[in-house]
């Protein structure tokens, strides 16, 4: 049982380039989330999904896009990368809402935009 996996672990982008951060979970969770973590700051929610085909914006969605075609996968797309997007990105998943389930996090992707 791998839990939540993310690829790549590290990436350096030039300003204006695009990339997709991959996230896969094998726990059959309907809820999935993307966060960014900047030094000295709490995790900020970028986008979340409550099931395949359903996504919604979090606190800091500008500059990002997501899709959810399957229960397992929740990729995060960066278009026209900017230095402000330098951060560590975490994907997470949780079971159905109805109880206050904890979120399970992946190992993160460290992204640098120069």
């Amino acid at each position: 049982n791998a839990g939540v996996t993310q690829t790549p672990k590290f990436r350096i982008l030039k300003i204006g380039q695009s990339m997709t951060l991959q996230c896969t979970q094998d726990m059959n969770h309907n809820y999935m989330y993307w966060y960014r973590q900047d030094p000295g700051m709490g995790l900020k929610l970028i986008y979340y999904s409550v099931g395949a085909g359903i996504t919604d914006k979090g606190e800091v969605p500008n500059g990002y896009n997501v899709s959810r075609s399957t229960t397992e996968d929740f990729p995060l797309r960066l278009e026209l990368a900017a230095p402000s997007q330098t951060s560590v990105y975490f994907c997470a998943s949780s079971p159905e809402q109805g109880s206050l389930y904890e979120q399970y996090f992946g190992p993160g992707t460290r992204l640098t935009v120069t």
Partner: protein, 111 residues
């Protein structure tokens, strides 16, 4: 606006020196208070969920408590392997299981 604030930002302890970390939150329909541990270069790892004031949960040297305005993570006789960043997060009414995270407390336990 719902907010979660953690203090102190950093804490240095000697091995065996007990202490507490604080997590305060705005009181507007808290539906759950979560504690996570994060090691350098890794994702947060779930520790506890607290649902109502007065509730306590324990795991090894850690005990989490909850009041109507704040939560504490008590660390009893810590060891160097307890060194990590401890994050708290609140889920507030109206969100789709969305968590609001504090900035964390960096704990260093020295032998």
């Amino acid at each position: 606006e719902d907010q979660v604030t953690q203090s102190p930002e950093a804490l240095r302890l000697q091995e065996g020196e007990s202490s507490s970390l604080n997590c305060s939150y705005t009181v507007s329909g808290l539906r759950g208070l979560f504690w996570y541990r994060q090691d350098p270069g890794k994702g947060p790892e779930f520790l506890f969920t607290l649902y109502s004031a007065g509730e306590e949960k324990e795991k090894e040297r850690l005990k989490a408590t909850l009041t109507k305005k704040e939560s504490f993570l008590h660390i009893t006789a810590p060891k160097p392997e307890d060194s990590a960043t401890y994050l708290c997060a609140g889920r507030f009414s109206g969100g789709y299981n969305k968590l609001i995270f504090g900035a964390g407390t960096r704990l260093a336990v020295h032998p």
